[in-house]
């Protein structure tokens, strides 16, 4: 059986659907979204207790004998525990490991200290197994 030339042409056209361009575009889209998507970074929590000193009605003895004070000295944050002055978290961790954990720990944070240093103190206290860590904001 012989086909006419128009029938042959019709069959050729149906077989010549080319998907290469669409696949190229699709791959480009895929690469674009892979590169530009920023998946959320994992977050966790610290859960300190809260206490506010109201005037002079609460003395240090009422709160707890173990107190870290975080303040700025010469523009740099400083952790102060009694007579110990700790310029970084490593030295703070060493001091905390020598303290009893049962009474808990007070973290007094002065204004103007970067948040990272206050949070670091809470984390170091938790790592040193202090069950009760209390955040006290200080003016």
């Amino acid at each position: 059986m012989r086909f006419s030339s128009s029938q042959k042409k019709h069959k050729l056209n149906r077989a010549a659907v080319n998907l290469s361009s669409m696949i190229d575009v699709t791959f480009l889209l895929l690469v674009y979204f892979i590169v530009t998507t920023v998946l959320p970074t994992p977050e966790d929590l610290l859960t300190p207790a809260l206490k506010v000193e109201e005037g002079t009605s609460i003395s240090i003895d009422d709160l707890d004998p173990q107190i870290i004070e975080i303040r700025l000295q010469d523009g740099l944050p400083l952790y102060v525990i009694g007579s110990h002055l700790c310029p970084d978290r490593e030295s703070l961790a060493v001091v905390l490991l020598s303290l009893p954990t049962e009474p808990g720990l007070i973290v007094r944070v002065n204004n103007e200290v970067p948040v990272a240093f206050a949070v670091a103190a809470i984390q170091v206290a938790r790592d040193a197994n202090f069950e009760k860590v209390t955040y006290v904001p200080v003016n």
């Binding site: 977050e43 966790d44 610290l46 948040v115 990272a116 949070v119 904001p137």
Partner: protein, 124 residues
């Protein structure tokens, strides 16, 4: 060829949706790089209080900063009728922000009788 194209389209849809959710879920902040207490419940939160580096308080993504007075009202509304109200609040503070705003917020929480708080950290 068809299954491959299907998979690629599904991947594209996944990344488009993931990108959208990532933008909407949280305000972009540089949280303190700490491992936290491994509580894994950072998502179980009613009110999220974001503190930007400049000290501005943001409650919702794409919303303007709020004042302490406005925050006071929002906290009051958020903790009403809850048994453990402090667990319904989350504070996300930029690591370079000053504690001045954070301390103000903690005084506010204490005023409302909250005995503890939750501070978000970024797991390094």
């Amino acid at each position: 060829m068809t299954p491959m194209i299907d998979i690629i389209f599904l991947l594209i849809i996944f990344f488009m949706v993931a990108a959208e959710f990532a933008q909407q879920a949280r305000l972009e902040l540089h949280l303190p790089q700490e491992k936290g207490e491994s509580l894994n419940d950072a998502q179980n939160t009613g009110l999220v209080i974001n503190i930007r580096k400049d000290g501005a308080i943001i409650l919702e993504v794409d919303s303007p900063p709020v004042t302490i007075d406005a925050l006071d009202e929002r906290i009051k509304a958020a903790i009403t009728g809850d048994n453990a109200p402090w667990e319904s609040l989350l504070i996300r503070a930029d690591q370079d922000a000053s504690t001045t705003t954070l301390n103000e917020i903690f005084r506010l929480l204490n005023k409302h009788g909250l005995s503890a708080t939750r501070i978000a950290t970024e797991v390094p």
